[in-house]
């Protein structure tokens, strides 16, 4: 954990022209879009479940979760499988293609005036060259699901 003081390795993904980051140790794998079975009676941002190598895994549509506009799936669309504690879920994102090392001094706490729902899920903002990465607070994203 002392590593966190210096460097944070993150997976970077895109969602409606913005770049987000999740710590690499929480990411189990990145999958291409597969058949999703809808589950009735769950929040709208839960797309359903997939068969991830024999394990039934719930899939969250991050666009819906952050109340962003709906998008269409294309060949770049990916499912990022993340682990938080005992919970394993997949996030649908527009694309995922980068692994970065962030130094801790490049991470700033979330600016106060952001004014969108996704602000609740943000842990901080990191500057890397000219890119602005939004660090996600994963446990918040997973809160009050059912």
């Amino acid at each position: 954990m002392s590593n966190q003081d210096h460097d944070l390795k993150v997976i970077v993904f895109q969602l409606v022209n913005k770049e987000y980051a999740v710590p690499v140790q929480n990411v189990q794998s990145i999958e291409k879009v597969m058949h999703i079975t809808r589950v009735p009676g769950v929040p709208s941002y839960v797309r359903g479940v997939v068969n991830l190598r024999g394990v039934v895994t719930p899939i969250i549509d991050l666009r819906k979760r952050f109340s962003l506009e709906d998008g269409t799936e294309d060949e770049h669309t990916r499912i990022i499988i993340v682990n938080i504690g005992d919970i394993e879920v997949g996030f649908i994102v527009d694309s995922a293609n980068d692994v970065l090392d962030l130094s801790s001094d490049s991470i700033e706490p979330q600016p106060n005036v952001v004014g969108s729902i996704e602000a609740d899920f943000i842990e901080g903002v990191a500057k890397n060259d000219r890119r602005l990465l939004i660090l996600l607070q994963l446990d918040k994203v997973l809160e009050n699901a059912a």
Partner: protein
């Protein structure tokens, strides 16, 4: 830190040993004279002591040590098995169990064991007279070699003495004094044995006194005086060794002395005997079996694809190979499934203790007869079934079996009997709890149910016997006139019922008033593989467990009737409400047909018709949970993976029938 890897093994083995103690102690209570049982308990306690001392759990070690002392006295005939003794031992085992549980849940295994300790100590001191006599006879135990030496020296005209030397309390150089005592003794005779051993004496590992066995031609007084000349020796008492007394219990000595070769041989002989009886097993973490199961399911899915491909290609050799593979993987499947099966013994084991305790608390005489404990069930079922069974047993003890006085009046034996049976039947396992107690009073149940508003007057008239009995499992029902600790809080039986139903099982009650009742629990063999009917609603596939399906039917639009805002059909003379799955599960419906496929499902006595688009067919599927994240989803009990790799949801029919 490096102990961590052993912790799991330690916990598992401790549990085993404690369980063994429990069973053997119950056995001992029945046959108080059987030394073999005492030895068995002693061995378990001893192993436990060793393990816990190694792992650094001092409280565990000290308590087991005291247990051992008492057990040792029992098998040496110094103590007889009385209820008080058994209670103290049981209380100690209870504490040990608590501590092990605390360690298992990450605690430090510390507990205030002073009560059990004082109980045990009191018992050890409780019979001072025979114990003192025993001490006089032999405070030192001799092995065969030492005994031969003593015998030979006796034959050669020597006299064997047991010399107890006590040093002064303020003695500073104990080791030095011991050395001096030995020097004196060696001049006047030959030291055969000392207790503690010479090594321990040199390390000052003793209190103020020690014992030496000496072969000498000198007089007793002379020896005592010579030893007393050594400074700081407070007293020295010599006594002739009574070899006959020593020989009285060579067996006990053999087993007590750890360094004793004969004992070691005997122990190992017993050990091998034991191994020959029990099968060789290894412990496997259940998680690993789950992983194996998951991997195997992947294999099954690929097998399905392979079969499809070979059918399309129609290549002879390929077909043959694929068929062979299918057969082998079929065998593999049954092996993997049986690997997860556990005998119900693991659950039943704790019941004799519980019944014994409860019977004493309730002042009733009850014998518990268990049969079929080797019946196997899936691990997941075993884990869940314990609490419901405890409830049912408590119920039988508290409400079923009458007090001895009441039983005498009715001309029954004072001792009530509860039978706990498990057996296989078809694809199910039955667990039955039968008591020869008072049975269920229909009138009492009905009047209670009426006063609690569980049924109405009109309903009450039409109920069958079994329906009346089922009322006692309705929530908010309790027939015990006085509320006791054991049952009668009105939350018991309905929880039992829901737990059993959530496992895919059912519970039925038979009872004859005055003669007793039978609670019969039916459980599926396994939870992980179930037979389902696959159905389609638009593009979505759902699985309906076969166990709740009665039959399927095709219903035309005009056959659907309306009653109280609900669509119903007349099915074989019964009015059956319809549940449109597309509405329940918000499936977007595009085309409406005037012919509906209906699956008639059952929950207890109630029926319902599930309306779907089409039937796909029957299939064995692997039940999977939706995961912690989604938790409970209405009317969905889980998911399964189909041959094409897609996930299908399993419908929970019980939730759909109100």
């Amino acid at each position: 830190m490096e102990m961590n890897q052993y912790l799991e093994v330690f916990i598992e083995e401790s549990k085993d040993h404690l369980q063994n103690c429990n069973t053997q102690m119950l056995e001992l209570e029945k046959n108080p004279g059987d030394i073999a049982i005492v030895n068995e308990i002693f061995r378990s306690a001893h192993t436990l002591k060793g393990m816990s001392a190694t792992m650094g759990y001092e409280d565990l070690a000290s308590l087991t040590h005291n247990m051992e002392n008492v057990l040792d006295d029992i098998r040496n005939g110094k103590l007889s098995v009385t209820t008080a003794v058994m209670d103290a031992l049981f209380s100690a085992v209870d504490d040990l169990e608590d501590m092990t549980a605390s360690i298992a849940s990450g605690g430090d295994g510390k507990k205030d064991v002073s009560r059990s300790l004082s109980l045990l100590e009191a018992i050890q001191k409780g019979e001072p007279a025979p114990k003192a006599a025993a001490e006089n006879n032999s405070s030192i135990q001799y092995d065969e070699f030492e005994r031969t030496v003593i015998e030979q020296s006796l034959e050669q005209g020597y006299i064997a003495y047991e010399l107890t030397v006590k040093l002064k309390d303020d003695c500073l150089l104990k080791a030095a004094r011991v050395y001096m005592v030995f020097e004196v003794l060696e001049k006047i005779g030959e030291v055969i044995k000392s207790n503690p051993t010479v090594d321990q004496l040199e390390e000052e590992n003793f209190d103020q006194h020690f014992c030496v066995t000496l072969a000498s031609k000198e007089e007793k007084d002379f020896i005592e005086k010579s030893v007393l000349k050594v400074s700081e020796v407070e007293s020295a008492e010599a006594a002739e060794v009574n070899l006959e007394a020593v020989e009285e219990k060579p067996k006990a000595a053999q087993e007590a002395a750890v360094t004793n070769e004969a004992a070691v041989v005997e122990e190992s002989a017993k050990e091998t005997q034991k191994q020959a009886v029990s099968n060789k097993t290894i412990r496997v973490n259940i998680d690993r079996l789950d992983v194996l199961m998951n991997l195997f399911e992947e294999l099954v899915i690929d097998r399905g694809r392979l079969e499809q491909i070979s059918k399309e290609l129609n290549h002879g050799e390929l077909n043959e190979t694929v068929e062979r593979m299918s057969r082998i993987s079929g065998d593999l499947q049954s092996i993997i499934l049986t690997m997860r099966m556990v005998p119900v013994e693991t659950v039943f084991n704790r019941f004799p203790r519980m019944v014994r305790q409860l019977a004493r608390d309730l002042d009733k005489q009850i014998s518990l007869e268990i049969s079929g404990q080797d019946t196997e069930l899936d691990r997941t079922v075993i884990d869940e079934i314990g609490d419901p069974l405890v409830h049912l047993l408590r119920n039988a003890l508290d409400h079923g079996i009458e007090s001895p006085a009441a039983r005498r009046e009715k001309g029954k034996p004072e001792e009530g009997t509860i039978q706990l049976r498990a057996y296989h039947s078809g694809n199910h396992v039955f667990i039955e709890i039968e008591d020869d107690g008072a049975g269920i009073s229909k009138e009492k149940v009905l009047s209670k149910a009426l006063s609690r508003g569980i049924v109405t007057e009109e309903q009450a008239k039409t109920l069958t016997d079994s329906q009346v009995y089922e009322l006692i499992m309705a929530s908010g029902f309790s027939t015990a006139e006085t509320i006791s600790d054991i049952s009668g809080r009105g939350v018991g039986l309905d929880v039992v019922k829901t737990t059993i139903e959530s496992l895919g099982g059912s519970i039925t009650i038979h009872s004859t008033e005055g003669q007793g009742s039978i609670f019969s629990v039916q459980l599926p063999l396994t939870l992980s593989i179930i037979s389902v009917m696959l159905v389609e609603v638009e593009e979505e596939k759902f699985a309906i467990p076969l166990s709740s399906i009665i039959e399927t039917a095709i219903v035309k639009d005009e056959e659907i009737l309306h009653a109280h805002n609900q669509r119903v059909i007349d099915f074989r003379g019964k009015v059956v409400p319809l549940v449109f799955l597309n509405e329940t599960f918000d499936v977007k419906k595009e085309n409406t047909e005037d012919i509906h496929s209906v699956i008639i499902v059952r929950k207890g006595e109630k029926l319902a018709g599930l309306v779907v688009d089409s039937f796909i067919g029957q299939q064995e599927v692997v039940l999977k949970s939706l995961g912690d994240y989604l938790g409970n989803v209405f009317a969905i009990s889980g998911a399964t993976i189909l041959g094409d790799g897609q996930v299908a949801l399993i419908v929970d029919c019980n939730a759909l029938i109100q």
